[in-house]
């Protein structure tokens, strides 16, 4: 129990004076400790005292369209009508309508592709609050067939991510189709610089530097947004552009104070390879959560299931808002803001309205 006490009576007598060897060894030890301490202090010293104020360097999102060879005369919006039994064919037809090589035109052999569905809520697929799992599976399969090395399905839901991915059916559907689901953790976030300066409120800008679900975006070569078309209580609708909201981390809900600014900023931030709108079970009211079958309409006001693929998220949202939700796009203020923010960039292939494409014959509609 007790530690052994040194026996003071038997302490050996000091036999000798210190020697030169003692001086070198013991003095050397003392000097080494002093030297290490001084070295560490020199290395760690923060003479200005502002190290506590240093922020990590924010990252910039890649242009996920940069390596796509997209002929300018091709259709920009591709609409595939079908039935609940032909979802896979509809997705394939929609993508093939855009590019003569189909998904191979967008995804190269060896690519890592990130699919971003809307998995925001712990709800079953029949309630239409999340992307239809069969659409996600079909896109994943097309990507694998096009030679993608890896297909990641990721979202940062409002509710528990594991529960949302399971309940929505997207986890099973994605994994069966050869994709892997990445569950969000705060450790996966990084600060992304949406613009290189402070956002300018006069220009209706909101996003400056903000945490984003970076791990899958970092790994990906291509990003495909797969958004259900839904009513939204504040923004009027949640479609392709608002879908990127699910990549944000942090207390992102404060952006509702400027929802149209933020949604257009998200479109500005993200240049996806492709967006796909799921117009199968369209939530017409009580959005974006819904909860009853009465909130839904198959194919929205058209009554026919539809999948829309587009390289222009702005026109895609306008088309869906008018043709599926049956509403006047004039109220969708973020479309105007998005046009002001990135419509001038010819590389973004953006039109002021989908009606321009209609006049140019750049909308293809087919049955699948």
């Amino acid at each position: 129990m007790k530690a052994k006490q040194p026996n003071q009576d038997n302490q050996p007598e000091a036999s000798r004076e210190w020697t030169r060897r003692d001086l070198l060894v013991r003095g050397g030890q003392t000097a080494a400790v002093a030297g290490l301490a001084a070295g560490a202090a020199w290395y760690l010293h923060d003479p200005r005292g502002d190290a506590g104020l240093q922020l990590p360097e924010p990252i910039h999102l890649k242009d996920y369209f940069a390596n796509v060879d997209f002929p300018v005369d091709r259709p920009r919006i591709s609409v595939a009508w079908g039935a609940l039994e032909t979802i896979e064919r509809m997705v394939q037809a929609a993508v093939e309508g855009l590019h003569p090589e189909g998904m191979k035109g967008f995804v190269s052999r060896g690519d890592v592709v990130l699919l971003k569905p809307n998995v925001g809520f712990d709800r079953g697929p029949e309630l239409g609050a999340t992307t239809n799992p069969m659409v996600v599976a079909a896109v994943a399969r097309l990507c694998r067939e096009a030679g993608a090395r890896k297909v990641i399905v990721a979202d940062n839901p409002i509710e528990n991510p594991g529960a949302c991915f399971a309940k929505s059916g997207i986890k099973t559907a994605a994994e069966t189709a050869g994709a892997s689901v990445m569950i969000h953790s705060n450790a996966h976030d990084a600060m992304v610089a949406v613009r290189d300066r402070e956002p300018d409120p006069a220009k209706q800008e909101a996003l400056g530097v903000w945490p984003i679900f970076w791990k899958p975006l970092k790994e990906a070569d291509k990003v495909i947004g797969i958004a259900p078309v839904k009513d939204h209580n504040l923004c009027h609708a949640s479609m392709a552009m608002k879908n990127w909201y699910g990549l944000l981390g942090g207390r992102r809900n404060q952006f509702h104070q400027a929802i149209h600014n933020i949604v257009s900023d998200l479109g500005f931030m993200m240049r996806p390879t492709l967006v796909i709108a799921d117009g199968i079970r369209v939530m017409m009211r009580n959005g974006p959560t819904g909860g009853r079958l009465e909130d839904l309409a198959i194919g929205g006001v058209t009554g026919r299931p539809v999948v829309v693929a587009s390289v222009d998220q702005l026109a895609c949202d306008g088309w869906c808002f008018e043709n599926l939700l049956g509403r006047d796009p004039a109220v969708l203020a973020y479309l105007d803001l998005a046009w002001e923010k990135f419509g001038h960039d010819p590389a973004r292939l953006v039109a002021r309205s989908w009606r321009e494409y209609e006049q140019q014959g750049k909308i293809i509609e087919q049955d699948a």
Binding site: G124, I158, A163, H260, N286, A333
Partner: protein, 611 residues
């Protein structure tokens, strides 16, 4: 193989089983393998202290707790077999004592003699059981299985999770995790002072098993004719049961170390050995036990008289869906925190004193941490004592066969208008409405016109579709300065619009949406330059004259709550961007359905008349 080797293997196996069960008690695991629900609580199910105490407090034996009869079999045959073969907390203490041992043989022998303080556990047991008989269940504070479950859930597993968050997701957060963590560290550390401190001195389960093992048919028996009184048998004695003399039957952990250590073969595990060679009953003076009983007896009125579970209830005590009424809840909850471990959103938190001292470490909802997910009833599936009932999602939401009784409400949301952005700060928001999961939504919004800051103005001049405004003059002065607005400050977007109200001299007023503005003039419509007809917007019905009062309003969606539809899930509170310690929308326990048929109904009827 030596019997002690078999024991060590069994201990390792039991520890591994226990840790596996705790580890898989997560939403994801139970969702993918529902059969696990049968297994995850098994160590709690077989704990006879939980069975006995809840039987005393509720007069029933809940579901799986009948498994505790299984554990009585080895106890009544062999003694406190559980303590050194099965109990995972006992194994931790055993292992700690072994790995940190610095005592020599002589010191070990001295440290393993029976001490009178080893009787404390019997007083703890008596006090807890008496309190339980009156309806206040406190055994969970010290029951080793509850204690270990709790410590793993709130402190140890999250701590292990921290460095590997990138792979396994973020660790859960629990209020006062450090308290639970330190308690288990101190209890384990005490092994260095008194070996098996918790098991010998504090453990009420050990005490209960000690009482039962008085009836055991086998025990360690010393043959005095072979014994040389060398006391070597004490060297590795786990229970401090005095095998070197008359065996204290209720203290022996049946570890078999003494038999192996005896150099003379004088110890054996004997069937029906002589009564004269043993101390049959625990050494507990009756008057002291009675005093402990009085403590337990008085604990009940003292806690109930604080009123925290009745009239002075805390509205923060929001119990998980499926919870029984509060008094019944306190008679059932063993503070094992399985519910918190399985909760997918981290909303379930251990209470400190919110539910009164008897509600320490019971689960309450904290909507700053998470929310109650609509389609989830995981907490009730793992609750071993029925404090949270095993409800289905249909029952929780009032669907199908439960449509008549309606959804289970765990509380009601309220607005703090002083903090709400649209209500008090003229900012658009309604995140609460967005995330409200009921259909139709309990949170709804309406458009409301709110005067902007210094929004009272005076007309300077006007045309059919424009009006130029001046600041409202100070008292006594005829005309104010012309306004200095930011260009298009009032153009608005679709979530926020701006309006100007003109109050004509005759008292009639008209209001128009502002389409655009420059520094002092508002545009409300556009006229065709040639025909003079209105192309868009609106025009004044009556021309405003100079000096007329004009008011500039912003119109935005303000949220309201329909208490008939609110179920208290708290996602509105969790997602409210007014992120301080008091959100602009918050949920209280008022309106909870679990107390609608009980007592004064304080909690149930404060916000909603009888439904």
């Amino acid at each position: 193989m030596r019997i002690t080797t078999v024991r060590i293997l069994v201990q390792i196996l039991m520890m591994a089983l226990f840790l596996t069960f705790v580890f898989v008690t997560t939403f994801t695991h139970l969702d993918s393998a529902p059969a696990l629900k049968f297994w995850v609580s098994k160590f709690l199910d077989i704990d006879p202290l939980i069975a006995l105490a809840t039987a005393l407090s509720t007069h029933t034996l809940y579901k799986g707790l009948a498994w505790s009869l299984i554990l009585l079999i080895p106890t009544l045959l062999l003694g406190r077999f559980f303590c050194n073969w099965i109990c995972p907390f006992g194994t931790i203490h055993h292992f700690t004592g072994w790995i940190f041992n610095r005592r020599n043989a002589k010191q070990k022998i001295e440290s393993n003699r029976y001490q009178h303080n080893h009787a404390v556990k019997y007083y703890v047991l008596v006090a807890f059981l008496v309190a339980a008989a009156f309806g206040s269940l406190q055994i969970g504070l010290l029951d080793p299985i509850c204690l270990l479950h709790r410590s793993l859930t709130t402190a140890l597993l999250p701590a292990l999770n921290m460095p590997v968050a990138e792979t396994f997701g973020d660790p859960k957060l629990h209020s006062f995790a450090w308290v639970t963590g330190f308690i288990v560290l101190v209890l384990v550390g005490m092994n260095l002072v008194i070996p098996r401190f918790f098991c010998r001195v504090l453990c009420p389960l050990g005490a209960l098993l000690g009482v039962f093992s008085r009836f055991s048919l086998w025990r360690i028996e010393r043959d005095p004719s072979k014994c040389t009184n060398c006391d070597t048998c004490l060297k590795n004695c786990e229970g401090a049961c005095d095998p070197h003399t008359q065996l204290r039957k209720s203290e022996c952990f049946v570890c078999f170390n003494c038999i192996e250590d005896c150099p003379h073969g004088s110890l054996s595990f004997a069937f029906l050995p002589a009564r004269e060679h043993e101390v049959t009953w625990p050494e507990v003076p009756a008057r002291r036990a009675a005093l402990a009983g009085v403590a337990g007896l008085m604990f009940f009125p003292f806690t109930k008289l604080s009123g925290k579970s009745t009239r002075d209830f805390s509205a923060r005590v929001i119990r998980p869906p499926g919870s029984v009424e509060e008094q019944e809840f306190l008679a059932r909850c063993i503070k094992c925190e399985q519910c918190m471990r399985v909760c997918p959103t981290n909303v379930l938190q251990p209470a400190m004193l919110e539910a009164g001292v008897e509600g320490l470490w019971t689960p309450i909802m904290n909507y700053r941490m998470g929310h109650c997910q609509l389609n989830c009833t995981a907490c009730g599936q793992v609750c071993p004592t029925g404090a949270i009932q095993r409800i289905s999602v249909d029952e929780k939401l009032g669907l199908g066969p439960y449509a008549a009784q309606g959804p289970i409400r765990i509380g009601t949301a309220h607005y703090d208008f002083g903090r709400c952005l649209p209500w008090s700060k003229n900012l658009p928001c309604v995140v609460c409405e967005e995330v409200c999961p009921t259909s139709p939504k309990a949170i709804h919004s309406e458009y409301k016109k709110l005067l902007i800051r210094e929004g009272k103005k005076q007309v300077f001049s006007a045309t059919a579709t424009t009006v130029t405004l001046a600041d409202y003059p100070p008292p006594g002065e005829p005309v104010g300065e012309l306004c200095t607005f930011r260009p298009n400050e009032f153009r608005g977007d679709q979530t926020t619009t701006y309006h100007v109200e003109i109050v004509h001299r005759n008292g009639i007023s008209e209001t128009h949406r502002i389409r655009a503005n420059d520094s002092d003039t508002l545009l409300i419509g556009e006229l065709d330059p040639t025909s003079g007809e209105l192309v868009s917007g609106s025009s004044f019905a009556r021309m405003p004259v100079r000096g007329t009062v004009a008011a500039v309003y912003t119109e935005l969606q303000v949220p309201k709550i329909d208490t008939d539809l609110c179920i208290g899930c708290g996602i509105c509170e969790k997602e409210c961007p007014v992120a301080g310690d008091r959100r602009a929308v918050y949920v209280t326990a008022e309106g909870e359905t679990r107390s609608q048929h009980y007592g004064s109904g304080d909690r149930n009827r404060s916000v909603r008349l009888l439904k």
